[in-house]
Amino acid sequence: MIDSGDTAWILTATALVLFMTLPGLALFYAGLVQSKNILSVLMHCMAIACLASVLWVIAGYSLAFAEGSAWVGGLSKAFLSGVTRSSESGTIPETLFIMFQMTFAIITPALMVGAYVERIKFSAVLLISGLWIFAIYAPVTHWVWGGGWLAEMGVLDFAGGIVVHVTAGVSALVIAWQLGPRAGFPDGVKPPHAPWMVMVGAAMLWVGWFGFNAGSALSAGADAGMAMLVTHLSAAVASLVWMVIEWVRFGKPSLVGIVTGTIAGLATITPASGYVGPVGGIVLGLAGGIICYLAVDLVKRKMRIDDSLDVLAVHGIGGATGTLLAAVFAAEAFGGSGLGEATMGSQFYVQTVGVVATAIFSGVVTLIICYIAKATTGLRASDDAIIEGLDFADHGENGYNK
């Protein structure tokens, strides 16, 4: 039976999650690049959002949520076949469930934009994102939320630590690696052209994330309330952690730093947000802040891969951390909703399997996709285009014409 209150909240949550990508994430990323590439970043987010929406309706939703095997859903709901105005999904219309999930299918490939800014070909963005949705996003969603093998194992992933952040983070790294670094990486690249814009984007992401996590309750009640609270706490704590680390290490806490902490905290709490209590929210914020901070350095300095806007370090590592810690802080002892028949140990094992399997799968398939892109559209923009800036080279426009 449709519940108008639950429906009202998921309608809102859907708007909030779309808002995360457009314009939230778009601005967050656009502020971090050089001014000659701002439009290309916005264009990537916009085009991915449109493309993902159409692909989701064509087959993505079906591959993720229709009856199928342990590995992938079937095609019975391709082109939303069988979905009518009166179809229900729990207490909300199925059309709304499709829409809500679609906004996840939009933001996940859009997160990966951060890895390849300032040097990728636009045609490659479309090709990679399109293939990625079918080959990685839909199956993994099926594994976790569509009744697939990880769901069978009892994996906990409330709002997408595995489905969204691990998939996007690992894939981002692979693309960055295949694409090669920006000129001057790591120490000669240009600083973010508009830190103010980064903050605006991060603020929108924070607000929108309420829809992401509390919306994943798919109802407007106790679970949504607690999810919102722990989401918020994790974001606040991780922000402060990042601020303190920078203050101690460099003597000055930066705006770009504090909001990077915000996103790290949000990504970290995501998988756990429906299971943990306030204590869990705070501890995950602490953990996410510290671990993602270290991960940023690790990827840039040790691995020397130009995952330009730290998609793996902030999203992937954050999401993985939260997924693993969910096994601990979901326990009633920590104010969580309880682990049912599982123990912390057994749950931790399941969570680890989920993270590792998804990471490997995403990495390998993304590598294949990169090869396909190289063989067809090509991956890297020409040096001339990169020097000129992708805004004019690929889109014939300039961000600022003052």
Partner: protein, 112 residues
């Protein structure tokens, strides 16, 4: 006539303007520039990565003056712009052959 080019610290502009007005020089043209010199730029750190900004924002003033005003103008600028810190800037003087006020067609000193 002379063409004075002065590069100064941005926050000294009001003081310099006042000093010039004090010796009755009203007209000048100001440009925002990036200066490279002994005063080094700074380092910005974003997400642990260091970015070298190796210039310093400065203002460039261009002032056409009558030949007999040049010394007092240079002096006025120099003393108003000085803070004693590296990066206070420079004053250059070039020769100016002619000047014309577009509106009236006046030339020479009368046009300034």
């Amino acid at each position: 006539m002379k063409w004075i080019v002065a590069v100064i610290q941005p926050h000294r502009i009001d003081a310099v303007r006042e000093a010039l007005v004090g010796i009755n020089i009203q007209g000048l043209t100001v440009t925002e520039v990036k200066g490279y010199g002994r005063q080094k730029g700074h380092t910005e750190v974003y997400r642990g990565a260091e970015y070298q900004i190796n210039y310093v924002p400065k203002l460039k003033l261009e002032i056409a003056v009558d030949g007999d005003l040049v010394d007092s103008a240079v002096e006025a600028i120099a003393s108003a712009a000085q803070t004693g810190k590296i990066g206070d800037g420079k004053i250059f003087v070039l020769d100016l052959e002619s000047a014309l006020r577009i509106r009236t067609g006046e030339t020479g000193g009368a046009s300034l």
